[in-house]
Symmetry: C2
Subunit: 455 residues, 2 copies
C-alpha cells in the first residue's frame, strides 16, 4: 500500500515551494521596508498558554501533544474508568500546537517585555495547526503571515497597514484589491443608538449577511433575534450604504451623533480615510464597510479585511484590526496592539487563477552537462564549478547513461541549455552548448560559456 499523509495536510512540490516562497518573500521584504522585525516562536506552547484563549470551539480544535513516557502513571483511575476524554486531556497532555500567531506573540511580548523597545513592530511567518474539518482552501496545517505593532495607540499604524497591503498586493501583480475598513466603536455606537447593546453580535452577524441574503431576510433574522422593528428603523441608512467613503462617514456621523463611542469611531475612521486620501494608494481601493465585524469580541478599534480583485471568487485574502488589550491575558495590562494578516493559501490560489506566477524562477538548473564517461565528466565538473561560482544553477547528469535518457531528463525538467562534451571537445578545450528551446548549437570556450550563461 502506498504511504499517505494525514488529511488536511499537504506535500509541496518544488514548483509549489518556489511559488509559495515568492509570495512569502514579497510579504517579508515589504514588512521589513515598513520597519517590522521578524520573531519566531516554538511550534508548540504550554497547553495553559493556548487553552481558553479561542473560546470553547477553539479549545476543541487545538492539537494536543501526548506527554512522553508513562503518561498514564499518575492519572486518576476513576477518570480512566469513566472514559472522560475531555477531563483526561489536561492530565496526559501538557503541550499543544500553535493555533494562531497572535496568542504566542502576546505571550512573547509579556515574557520578553524587558528586552523589547516599544513600540514594537514585529512580523512572524510560521505555520499554525487546527483540527478543523478540511475543505477546499482550509487545511489543518497552514501558514500565517502576520505583522503587528504593540505599545502605541497612534492611528498612523492603521494608515501604514493599508499602505502595506497595497504595496504587497501591487508587487504581487494583484491589482484592484479592495481593502475594507470598519471600526468596532462604530458597531458599538450602532448598537447603542438602536438600544440593543446586548444584541450587538446578533446584529452584526445578521448585517454581515446583507450581500448574500438581501435586506428582507436580514431584517427577518434581526427580528427573530428580538431586535425591535423600531431599532431596525433607526439604522435604515445601513441597508443602502453606498457612495464615497466621505459620504458614508457623513451618514454615520449623523446616525451616531448621540453615541459618544460611535462618534469616536467615526473620528478614527475619518483620520485614516483622510490620510490615505492624501497619501494615495498604488492599486488597491479603500472602502468603508459597516458590515465588517470579523472576530468582534477581539477587536476594539479598526477592523480590516481584504477582498481579491472583482471577478475572482475567493473569500478574504487578508484581515486584521486593533485590540486595546492584547497582552492582558498574560498579565501585562493596557498594551494596545494593531495588526494584519495575509492569507497565504488563498493568495496562492488567486495568483494561480490569474496566471501571476509566470515571473517566478523555478528551482531547476539553467544548464545540464551530459555525462559521456569519467574523463568527460571530470572535464565538465571543472566548468560546472566555474558556472556555479557565477551563480549559474548547473548540474552534471550523474551517470553516463544513454544520450536519449539524459536528454529526456533535460526535457522533462524543462532545462533551457545542455552542454555536450566528448573527447574532441576536451582536446580543443571547448564546450558544445545546445539551446533546448531553439535547438541552436554553438561551440564555446569556458570563458564564453560562463559569459553566455551568466547573462
Amino acid at each position: 500500500m502506498k504511504p499517505s499523509i494525514p488529511k488536511g495536510t499537504r506535500d509541496f512540490s518544488p514548483t509549489e515551494v518556489a511559488n509559495r516562497t515568492y509570495i512569502i518573500n514579497t510579504i517579508k521584504t515589504t514588512f521589513e521596508t515598513f520597519g517590522f522585525q521578524p520573531i519566531e516562536t516554538p511550534s508548540f506552547e504550554n497547553a495553559s498558554t493556548l487553552m481558553g484563549k479561542y473560546g470553547e470551539e477553539g479549545d476543541r480544535l487545538i492539537f494536543k501533544i501526548l506527554n512522553s513516557g508513562d503518561y498514564l502513571n499518575k492519572v486518576d483511575d476513576k477518570l480512566l474508568a469513566e472514559k472522560d476524554s475531555l477531563k483526561l486531556t489536561s492530565q496526559i497532555s501538557e503541550k499543544a500546537l500553535r493555533y494562531d500567531l497572535t496568542v504566542p506573540f502576546a505571550r512573547y511580548v509579556v515574557q520578553h517585555q524587558n528586552e523589547i523597545t516599544f513600540p514594537f513592530k514585529r512580523y512572524q511567518v510560521q505555520p499554525v495547526w487546527r483540527a478543523d474539518r478540511p475543505q477546499k482552501g482550509r487545511f489543518r496545517e497552514f501558514f500565517q503571515c502576520d505583522a503587528d505593532v504593540v505599545g502605541s495607540q497612534s492611528l498612523w499604524q492603521e494608515v501604514e497597514f493599508i499602505q502595506l497591503y497595497d504595496t504587497v498586493f501591487t508587487q504581487l501583480g494583484l491589482e484592484g484589491t479592495t481593502i475594507k475598513i470598519n471600526n468596532r466603536k462604530i458597531l458599538s455606537g450602532i448598537a447603542e443608538v438602536i438600544g440593543a447593546q446586548d444584541k450587538l453580535i446578533d446584529f452584526t452577524v445578521a448585517l454581515d449577511k446583507l450581500d448574500k441574503m438581501g435586506q428582507e431576510k436580514v431584517e427577518q433574522e434581526m427580528l427573530d433575534k428580538e431586535i425591535t422593528k423600531e431599532a431596525i428603523e433607526k439604522v435604515q441608512p445601513l441597508f443602502s450604504f453606498t457612495g464615497s467613503n466621505i459620504n458614508k462617514l457623513a451618514s454615520l456621523e449623523s446616525m451616531l451623533q448621540t453615541s459618544e463611542e460611535g462618534t469616536k469611531g467615526v473620528e478614527e475612521l475619518r483620520f485614516v480615510i483622510n490620510s490615505i486620501a492624501e497619501l494615495g494608494l498604488k492599486s488597491a481601493n479603500l472602502e468603508v464597510d459597516v458590515t465588517l465585524a470579523r472576530g468582534l469580541n477581539y477587536y476594539t478599534g479598526a477592523i480590516f479585511e481584504v477582498a481579491a480583485p472583482k471577478g475572482v471568487k475567493m473569500g478574504s485574502i487578508g484581515g486584521g484590526g486593533r485590540y486595546d488589550d492584547l497582552t492582558g491575558i498574560f498579565g501585562l495590562k493596557d498594551v494596545s496592539g494593531v495588526g494584519i494578516s495575509f492569507g497565504l493559501d488563498r493568495i496562492y490560489l488567486v495568483l494561480e487563477e490569474l496566471g501571476l506566477f509566470k515571473t517566478v524562477d523555478l528551482p531547476k538548473p539553467k544548464v545540464l552537462f551530459v555525462n559521456f564517461g569519467e574523463n568527460e565528466a571530470l572535464f565538465c565538473m571543472k566548468a560546472i564549478a566555474a558556472l556555479r561560482k557565477n551563480d549559474v544553477k548547473s548540474e552534471l547528469y550523474p551517470d553516463s547513461a544513454k544520450m536519449k535518457k539524459q536528454m529526456n531528463y533535460a526535457n522533462k525538467r524543462e532545462i533551457e541549455f545542455v552542454v555536450l562534451v566528448g573527447s574532441q571537445e576536451i582536446e580543443k578545450q571547448e564546450f558544445t552548448l545546445k539551446n533546448m528551446v531553439s535547438g541552436e548549437q554553438s561551440k564555446l570556450s569556458l570563458r564564453e560559456l560562463v559569459n553566455q550563461l551568466k547573462a
Copy 2:
C-alpha cells in the same frame, strides 16, 4: 506569573531570526546553484509512517499527537484499567511530529514516484521535533537542512556534496573546516579481515573513541567486547592512521586486499578523493577518517562528517552518507540515495563565537522620522513612501511623544539616521537629516534625501 515556553524550545528575537535566516539562505542558495529543488512535507505524519523507523529509542522520542474529539470512546476498557501507556498510545494517537527529514522524504518519493523525474535532487529545510532531554546545543525543536539525491549510484554525487559543504562554509566565512569521509564498505571489510563481522558495531564504536581515550583503552574496550587479540593485531595500522589521504588509501588497500567489500570501499573512496584533488576545494580540508561510523546501520557507502575549524570546540556541524535502499521501507525497492545535512544550531554557535555575523543586515529601519504632530507626520509619511519605494527601510515614530523619548527609541534600536521635520521644514519643503553616529546634520530636499539614504 510570567508565561513561559516548553523546555527544549526557543523564542527567536529579531536579531536571532536575521542571523538564522542568513545561514539558511546561504545554504538554500547553494543547494539551488548545485541543481537541488526544494520540497516541503507536513509537520506531522501518520504515526505508522514514522514508528519503527528509528529504533526503539527513536519511537520513544517521537512526539505523538492526541486524536481529536472523544478519543477514549473506542479504547478497550481493559487497556485503560491496566494503565499501559505504551499500548494505549497507538489507540489514542494516529499522528506524530516529524522526527527527521529523511523518512518523510522517503515517504514523499514513494508517494509521488510518478510525478518525479529521477535522479531527483531535493533539498528540505524544516523543523523537526524530538522528546530528547534538552541540553546545551540540543533542543526539542530544531531545524534540519538536508540535501539528497535519489535514483543514482554515481559517485559524482559524493564529489558534489563535498564541494557543496566547501562552498557553503566558505561563503559563511567559516574557513578551515574538515570534511571527514569514510565508507561503510571499508568498515565491513575491516570486520571481515579481523573475522569479527558480528562485532562490527562494537569495533567501530570503540575505534571511534581513539581520539578521546587513546589506543590502550580502546584496545581494552575491544577485548572486553570479545574481539580477539589476534584480530586487533591485524588492524594495527588503524591505530596510527596518519599522513595524506593517498597514503591512507594505500594502507587500507593492502590491509583489506582479502575482502571484496573492503576493496570496493577503497575504490569508491579513491574515486572521490582523486576527483576532489583534481577539482580543488576553496577552504575546506578533506580527510579520510576510518573511525567515522555515524548511523552505521543506515549508511551503505560513503559516510561524511564536518568538523568546525580547529580551535573551535564543537561537535560535528554537518554529516551524511549513502544509503542503498532509502525507500524500501515504503515498498519501493533498490532506490539508492545519498545526502548531507547541515547542523544549523551548531553552525550558528560557531559563527557567533568567531564573530562572523557582523555582515548580516539587522532587521531595523535605516531611518526614523521623528513625529512632531499630525501635519508634520503627514508630510513625513509622503517622504517615507518615496523611500520605501526605493527599498529604504523607513519608519515614522507613531506618536508625537517627547523628543527625548523618540531619540531614545532610535538609539536603543541603533537606527543610523533620524529625520526631523518641523513647521519650518514643511514651509521650505526640506528635511533635516541627522546621522546618529557622527551627529552630523544636513538639510535636504526630498530627492536628495532619497538619493543619500538609497546609497
